[in-house]
Symmetry: C2
Subunit: 208 residues, 2 copies
DNA sequence: CAAATAACATACAATCTGCATGTAAATACG
DNA sequence: CGTATTTACATGCAGATTGTATGTTATTTG
């Protein structure tokens, strides 16, 4: 028996402690809310002291940011994993929507990414995170659709943001217990509505 | 001069104190954030003590709810005031969107109604407030459009929620400094995309 | 192997929230 | 009209939380 658990390199120690902290915080932040979760509770769950926390993170908010970052990455990865090789642009978008809604059903994720995240870190910071992980595939899908001329040409940033907002709200509604079907139907209608077509006047006759 | 400020009825006292508290809280909650604003600061600005606050409101969150409620009502009223008598359903929707985006430019409103509100009170409570004030006109506009057959028939609740989410995100982006034009353009495209028309396949040829 | 540094643990100060208790003003009531 | 009761506050207190400062132990560097 050389040593029970000793002789760990500093890099290993840091990595392990940070991971423990983030994991414990993630659990508590998703079970309760950001403000309802105190740092004493977090460090107790992680098996360290508050000293460790404040050594590795500037403050509670920085720990929260790390959790959000990791969770956004997880969502993005789940979506990419579920994303089929390459369909028509429109079908790829819908597949992506479904994957996103499915990924957001992981317990507490909506609160973390859609409620507490924006409130605690600000919309700007969340946009930055989203653009780095999640929204990229959405924007690329939209650009592809426009290039294939199956979707009308629109400002990409704005379109991405607004569609993402609709997805987010759908995820929240579903999490709250709403049936997914109508939301899915509306999302598809919104996407299909953007398919290349000239505008018509308000009193458009029914075409069916 | 009968009395300097005395002999006020209890109803008047309550009304005045509550109003002072809500006004001070509104100012601070919009300047800073909900958590960054402490009750000592609020009561100091309102010229009362914390005893008064906790006499009139169950807790800090209840005061916040009152502020949000009042602010949502103000937004709804601004929209109705700007809403022209009766246009074609599609134009009424766009006028409503513009009015909403204009109303949300009041400083701090986005943080109050779109960031802190959902996080502090929960999405469910915010939906309840929105449905009581703001979203009503949107939903009615959508129903009207569907009835006039100028918009495809879709689940009303879901459509209202998702469009409202897009409006909200646009308001946030504009507040953050983005140019309104592209967001307005996309919102109009989303609305127009729902005009009555049969679905087309993915590879739809351009019809122009 | 000593010096410097990193990774924690512990103790402390400043706040903040909610409640309990106390007091003055208004209202109800006989 | 005078007293009992309720309302509208003010003050003080207890518990908890956050961030920091200080102390200690384990690594790494030279």
């Amino acid at each position: 028996m050389q040593q029970e658990s000793a002789r760990r390199s500093n890099r290993d120690r840091t990595e392990a402690t940070r991971a423990d902290l983030i994991a414990a915080a993630r659990r508590l932040f998703t079970e309760k809310s950001y403000t309802e979760t105190g740092t004493p509770e977090i460090v107790a769950a992680a098996g360290v002291t508050r000293g460790a926390l404040y050594h590795h993170f500037a403050d509670k908010q920085a720990l929260f940011a790390a959790v959000v970052e990791q969770e956004a990455a997880a969502v993005a990865e789940e979506i990419e994993r579920a994303s089929p090789p390459s369909l028509f642009a429109r079908d790829a978008l819908i597949a992506g929507s479904d994957a996103y809604l499915a990924a957001m059903r992981a317990p507490g994720r909506t609160r973390l990414l859609l409620l507490d995240g924006p409130a605690v870190l600000g919309r700007a910071a969340m946009d930055e995170i989203d653009n780095r992980h999640g929204n990229r595939s959405l924007r690329e899908g939209l650009v592809a659709a426009m290039r294939s001329q199956s979707m009308m040409r629109l400002p990409v940033e704005a379109l991405t943001a607004l569609l993402a907002a609709a997805f987010d709200r759908a995820a929240l509604a579903i999490e709250a217990g709403a049936s997914p079907a109508p939301y899915r139907e509306v999302l598809i209608a919104l996407i299909d509505g953007l398919s290349q077509a000239p505008h018509r006047g308000p009193g458009a006759a029914r075409t069916r």
